[in-house]
Symmetry: C2
Subunit: 352 residues, 2 copies
Amino acid sequence: MELLLNERKIKILEAIITDYIATAEPIGSRTIAKKYNLGISPATIRNEMSDLEELGLIEQPHTSAGRVPSDKGYRMYVDNMMHSRDLTDEEINFIKNAISFNVGQIDYLMQQTAKALSMLTNYTTIVTEPTGSSLKLKHIQLVPIDSKSVVAVMITDDKAVKNKVLTAETVPTPDILNALSLDINAVVSGRTTDEMSKEKISSVLNKYPLYSSLITDVFKAVISLLQNSKDVHMYTSGMRNLLGFPEFSNAEKAQNIFKALEEKDLLITLLGDEKNVDKIQILIGGENNMQELKDCSIVRANYKVGSSSVGRIGIIGPTRMNYTRTVSVLSSIIGKMNSIMANITDDGGFDE
Amino acid sequence: MELLLNERKIKILEAIITDYIATAEPIGSRTIAKKYNLGISPATIRNEMSDLEELGLIEQPHTSAGRVPSDKGYRMYVDNMMHSRDLTDEEINFIKNAISFNVGQIDYLMQQTAKALSMLTNYTTIVTEPTGSSLKLKHIQLVPIDSKSVVAVMITDDKAVKNKVLTAETVPTPDILNALSLDINAVVSGRTTDEMSKEKISSVLNKYPLYSSLITDVFKAVISLLQNSKDVHMYTSGMRNLLGFPEFSNAEKAQNIFKALEEKDLLITLLGDEKNVDKIQILIGGENNMQELKDCSIVRANYKVGSSSVGRIGIIGPTRMNYTRTVSVLSSIIGKMNSIMANITDDGGFDE
DNA sequence: TGTTAGCACTCAACGAGTACGAGTGCTAAT
DNA sequence: ATTAGCACTCGTACTCGTTGAGTGCTAACA
C-alpha cells in the first residue's frame, strides 16, 4: 500500500489528517500550502489531493469544500505514518498518582484507571475486570446471612473479591459452613474450571447430603465466576466527553451513541477477545461493525493478570481522534497496570 | 396562596402547565381557548393570563410569544392542583417483574430499580443503598487473601454484603482468623456504632496483641461502613434520556448537566437527608441550589429498610416534567421496595 | 361589572435573494 | 513536472420583506 504513495503525498495526507484532528473542519489546498510549508503551490497540492481522493484516502463532503480523511486514510495513517510520542513527566506522575494507591481494592483500581484515562485523553473509556478460562480461584468462603441464605465470598488468583448470594432451604450452622468451605476449597482452589475433578466434586456432595442443592449452587457460582465473561464487571468513565465534540453535538446522534454505550453486550464485543496482550489495537470508524458507532474509533488493549487471564481497556472517541496521543497514554497506563498486577499476584498467601 | 386564584385562573394555569409539559412550546390565549374548552374567549383568557403573570406564576419568553409556567407556577401546581393517577396493570406488572426477582443480591436489586424507573418515566434516576446511623451489622467474617491482606466481609442487617480489603504486616492463620472473626462479631453484630462498647473493643485488641493494627482496621472499616454516607454506592440509569428533551438538546447545556451528575457528592446532596420516609418530595427548578441543574426538577423519596435506615431514590428530569406520572410511578415503586425490604429483614438468621 | 370583539402593535421564524469566499478542476504557460 | 490563472461550484452568512401567533388596549355589549 505504501508503495502507491510518494513522499509528497504522504506529507499531504499527514497534513490533512493532523489538521482535521485538530479542527474538525475540511481542509483545502490553499490552507495546506499556507500552514504546512511543503514548498509546493496549492495547485500542485490539488493535483496530489485528487490522486489521494481517487485512492479513497480522503473525501470531499461536497464540491467546493475541502477534503476530509476517510476511514481508509486514517487506517493508512495509523499503520504507516504515526510516530509515537512520549508522555510528559507530569502526565506520567498523574497516572502514577491516580492508580497506584489503594490497589488492594481491585474494583476501585479499575474505576480509577478508567477515570484517569478519560481525563488524560478527553474521550470515553471502558475497563473490564480480568477474565479468562485459565483464571483460577484462590479461596472460597461461605458466610451465613440468615436462615435462608449464605454468601459465597470468592477470591480469584488476581485477588479480586466477589460475592454471590445463594439461597438454601436450610442453611448449615456456622461450624458446618466452615468445614464445608474447607472441603470446597480443597476441590476448587488453585485450579481452573477444567482442572477441577468431577469425582472430588461428587465426594463433597456425598459428604453433605443435606445441603446438596446449596453445594451445587456454590460450584455453579464458581464456574460462572471463572468462565462467564457476560457478567464481567465494567467500569466506564467520561461518557460526557463525547458531547464536547462537534461531530456529536447533534443531540439525536449523541443519544444514539449513548444508547449503544449503555448496552453491556455490545461493549464486550467492542473490547474484543483476542488474547494477544502486548499489542494495542485500533478500530477505525466503520471497522467496528456497529452502525451506531460508525463515527467512532476504538483504541483497545489487554492488561495481563497472573499468567494468562486478561482484562481489557478501551478508549472510544470520534474517528477524528488523536491516535498518537491516545496510543501513548494507553500504552503507558497498560504498562503501569501490568506491573501493579504482577505485584498483586506475586504473593503466595494461603492457597492450598 | 390559593385564595388569590379563582376557579377560572386555576383552570387556565392548569391548561398552560399541562400543555407546556406535553409540547415544550409557549402557549397563547387562542390555543387555550381552542384546545381546552373553558367556555370563555381568548380575550378573557388574556386578561386572566395577565393577572397570572403579575402573580409570577407564568412568564413570557418574549413579547408576542405565548406564556410558559414559572418555577413558582409549577410549585403552585404541584402543591395544590396535581391529582394523582393510578398506574395501569401493565405498568404495575412491569415494576413487579423488574425488581421482584433475585432480590438476594441487593446491589442488583437497586440497579434494576433504577433501570425500571428510568424506563417508566423516561427521566434519569438515582438509587442509593440504605444508610443511616442506626444501621446495624449482622455479621462479619475475615477471609484471608494472601500473606499480606485479608478481606473483611460485612453483612448489614438489611443484608447488603460489603467487602473491604485490609492489609496487615502478618496475616493470622485461618484458624486464628476464624476465632478472631467470632470475637469481633460478639462486639459488633446486632449493634449500631453507638451501641458498640469501647471496653469490649479493647478486650479484643488485648486478646490478639500481634494483630492489633489489623483489628483496628477492621473496626474502622465497620464504623466507616455504617456511618460514612460519603462512599455509599449509587446506581444511576437513563442519563441519556435527558438528551431527548428539547431543553437539553444544546450539547453544551447537556454536557454541563452530565458533568454535574457525575459528581457523587452533589448527587448525595441532591437526594437530601431527611428521614421522613413516607413523603415524596419535589424540588422544582432553581429550588435545588445548583446552578447547573436550574432547569431540572427532582422528585425524590426514601425507602425504608428495617426499623430506621433508609435508602434514597431520585428522579431527575426537565423542570417541565410530568409530575403527576412521576410521582405515581415513584410512589408505586417505593411501595414495592418497602415490602421487599421488609421481607428481607424479617428473618432472624444467624446473628448472635 | 364582567366579557368579548376589534384593532394596532410586536417580534420570532421563515424564505427568497444576494454577496462572499473557500474550494475545486482544467488549461496553458513556464 | 510545476504552477499561475480562471471559470465554476456551492455552502454560509446576511439582508429584507412577509407571515402569523401572540399581546395589550379600548370600546361595545349583556
